[in-house]
């Protein structure tokens, strides 16, 4: 059983509780144990970077430091938390001055961060640590003929970390293929959903959500698969508002990739949080 230090993040506690459920369930089915980090705090999302950079890094570093105590690699299911953790970890390693500042603050909570562990997004655990071949073998309810639009969003792939392809990656589509579903070829898969603009600049965010839904719809999408709770909420919970604003009639269910993965592995839908959607996912009933 491979273990990881699991950082659910604030959204997974309530708004996106189905992501949490399905993540733990599908991980378990693939021999991965996601051990929740003890007493984790909010990563600060984007808001803390709007206030003070050093403080923002510190908030993130506290969680990394707690994870480091167990010596397990850090895994976040939310792209925002993941991006914050990855770069805090990297900058800390590169900049001893920053490390000093942060560790001075962490001392107040009896913590210290070396920067020894790696930071991964949940989807990387499935693709790299479990492997697509293993997943294919364990799939017993392939999502045959289900047209899935793999939605990457922003902060999973950007900013650039290595020399990887940030404009047209294929790893999410590969995972969708591995669970037997059909990939939708649509151009906006890397485009932003608006993120926190849904609260701070409603008009802009609704426009961005509209563009995504429009593109997915035009390409006959059955389900949009997400890898971030905020993307999911924006695309799904606000779908009706988009319909009102743009006089559209979208009714596209938006599921977390772990929910689709779990279904393909034969896990019961209510254990995957299926049924908690605002936009009905009845199309998935056939795979139960």
């Amino acid at each position: 059983m491979k273990q990881f230090a699991y950082y659910p993040g604030c959204s997974l506690e309530s708004l996106s509780v189905s992501y949490d459920q399905s993540a733990l369930e599908s991980a378990k089915a693939l021999d991965i144990e996601l051990k929740e980090i003890i007493d984790w705090n909010c990563c600060g999302a984007t808001s803390y970077f709007h206030a003070d950079e050093l403080l923002a890094y510190t908030l993130v570093a506290r969680n990394l430091a707690i994870a480091e105590m167990d010596g397990l690699d850090f895994v976040a299911p939310c792209s925002g938390c993941y991006k914050n953790a990855y770069f805090t970890n990297q900058y800390l390693k590169e900049d001893p001055d920053l490390a000093d500042h942060i560790n001075y603050a962490l001392e107040a909570d009896n913590l210290h961060l070396e920067g020894k562990l790696s930071v991964k997004h949940l989807i990387e655990v499935f693709i790299d640590d479990v492997g697509l071949e293993s997943i294919k073998e364990k799939v017993n309810h392939p999502l045959k003929d289900l047209r899935v639009a793999a939605y990457y969003g922003c902060q999973l792939v950007r900013p650039r970390k290595d020399g990887e392809n940030v404009e047209d990656p294929q790893f999410f589509e590969d995972l969708i293929s591995a669970i037997g579903a059909e990939n939708v070829n649509y151009g906006n898969k890397m485009r932003c959903c608006g993120g926190s603009l849904i609260m701070t600049n409603r008009a802009a965010a609704l426009d961005m959500v509209y563009q995504l839904l429009l593109d997915a719809d035009k390409n006959q999408t059955d389900v949009i698969a997400t890898i971030c709770p905020l993307c999911n909420v924006n695309l799904e919970a606000y779908q009706s508002q988009v319909n009102q604003e743009y006089k559209s009639k979208f009714k596209i269910p938006v599921m977390y990739f772990t929910q689709l993965l779990g279904l393909a592995l034969g896990i019961e839908p209510d254990r995957l949080g299926i049924g908690k959607e605002l936009v009905s996912a009845r199309i998935l009933k056939q795979f139960e």
Binding site: D52, E53, A105, A108, P159, M199, T200, N201, G275
Partner: protein
């Protein structure tokens, strides 16, 4: 201390860990504005804002809604041919704006951030219902109604909790924060 610094130098200094080339390197090619998904909702495009900073047009820059409309999607960053951390600059402008308490009237962002920070200081975790008042009242009546409806639906689907969670070591957490900035008062 910073009395003689020009506005452009002030902004350049705000990026603590410099993860890109300086803003001065901008050749005004427009790739950022061409890539930005929110540009239609900004009164100046990211490129224009960079030019304005370079020209030390402090008033106009601070009064702009551009940097408050940045979603930090980083599309500009990965494409910028001059290697400038544009999203980082937007963050820097927000920080400057909050610090100086100078921003366009009617924007949701500043109050939202303040609430968010105070919320974290209180409990260590985020709790949506606390944030809602910062933006709902700026929506029209119909939108407020829709928002309320959505919130209710979420509640009945078990996706909205009414009680905020609090981390156990909240006292030490607050001490930790105070070692970075002496956070004003108790939240």
């Amino acid at each position: 201390m910073e009395a003689t610094l020009t506005f452009s130098k002030e902004i350049a200094n705000l990026l603590y860990a410099e993860h890109g080339n300086p803003i001065r390197d901008c050749i005004q090619c427009g790739t950022c504005s061409g890539s930005c998904p929110a540009v239609e909702y900004m009164d100046h495009s990211p490129r224009q804002l960079i030019a304005m900073i370079g020209a030390d047009m402090k008033e106009e820059v601070m009064e702009s809604n551009t940097y408050w409309s940045c979603a930090s999607c980083y599309q500009c960053n990965v494409r910028c041919p001059a290697g400038i951390d544009i999203a980082g600059m937007m963050y820097g402008l927000k920080r400057y704006s909050m610090w100086r308490e100078r921003y366009k009237e009617g924007l949701v962002g500043p109050q939202f951030n303040e609430s968010f920070m105070k919320m974290i200081m209180r409990t260590g975790r985020s709790f949506e219902p606390v944030l809602a008042p910062t933006y709902v009242f700026k929506l029209g009546a119909k939108d407020m109604f829709d928002e309320a409806m959505m919130a209710t639906s979420l509640f009945f689907k078990g996706r909205m909790s009414l009680i905020p969670k609090r981390i156990k070591r909240i006292e030490d957490f607050r001490k930790m924060v105070k070692r970075i900035i002496p956070f004003g008062g108790d939240a």
